[in-house]
């Protein structure tokens, strides 16, 4: 009986980390900087990577879920995949001024708008 059950378990396709999940994100900001919050539950502080190349922002987060020992799952929805988000930026940002903070599974990235891209007020003389 117990061997039968085990066989069934082995047939379930296991997912590799080669596939990524696109995380949910929000954007807000003002004239000087934009803030992008990327929701990536299960990613620890040291497991994020962030890069800006030309106008592309790439965010990756390696998800690590501790698997419980023994027992069985009664219900499963949480996926083990890591996260990858690629965004095309419409605004030129100052790459040296980019800051990122992670808290409660959310990575908040501050992207300062490059000086030349900020709106200029022109005085009428």
């Amino acid at each position: 009986m117990s061997t039968e059950l085990k066989k069934q378990e082995e047939q379930v396709p296991t997912r590799t980390n080669a596939t990524y999940r696109r995380p949910y994100y929000t954007v807000d900001g003002d004239k000087e900087a934009y803030r992008v919050s990327v929701f990536m539950p299960g990613v620890a502080k040291d497991d994020y990577s962030l890069s800006v190349h030309r106008d592309e922002l790439l965010v990756e987060g390696r998800k690590q879920l501790g698997a419980p020992e023994g027992g069985r799952y009664l219900h499963r929805e949480i996926t083990p995949e890591s996260y990858k988000l690629r965004l095309q930026l419409n605004v030129s940002v100052d790459p040296d001024g980019i800051k990122a903070v992670s808290e409660d599974g959310v990575l908040t990235i501050t992207l300062p708008v490059a000086k030349e891209a900020r709106p200029k007020t022109i005085k009428i003389s």
């Binding site: 296991t14 596939t19 949910y24 954007v27 807000d28 419980p68 027992g71 219900h75 965004l87 419409n90």
Partner: protein, 138 residues
């Protein structure tokens, strides 16, 4: 001005292609029917059981410890969580809720909950009399 250029399939075809493929052939993928990623209000959940306890895990990124309400009533565990999202239209309060029947054999006084990187883990130990007992044949 908008920060992100038109966000579409063409920006990031591979992850979306993956998803398209997985929703087209759900039988190939264990997770597909339950995939809820990329949505604001979904709370994906795992329930795991061992002889001594049941463990409920939920993804609630962006929620602070103080903004979580946990309740066990009539063998139903309810989670109510709130988070603030900054959007272009100003701050928005998002409420996340999820309930699950955890069984009537739980020792309510020994429940422990922990929040780690946006994942809430609730450990519900079973009552002593509910645990399986070994009976030796004399």
């Amino acid at each position: 001005m908008r920060l992100i250029k038109h966000d579409s399939f063409f920006n990031d075809p591979w992850t979306d292609l993956d998803r398209l493929f997985e929703t087209s052939f759900p039988e190939l993928y264990q997770w597909t029917p339950l995939r809820q990623g990329g949505r604001a209000r979904s709370v994906p959940m795992d329930v795991h059981e061992t002889e001594g306890e049941r463990t409920v895990r939920m993804e609630i990124p962006g929620v602070r410890k103080k903004d979580i309400e946990l309740e066990l009533e009539n063998s139903v565990l309810s989670v109510r969580a709130k988070r603030e999202e900054e959007t272009d239209a100003g701050p928005q309060s998002i409420e996340l809720t999820r309930s699950v029947t955890v069984g009537d054999d739980i020792d309510a006084d020994k429940i422990k909950a922990n929040l780690d990187n946006g994942i809430l883990t609730v450990v519900l130990p079973k009552q002593e009399q509910a645990k399986p007992k070994q009976i030796t044949v004399g």
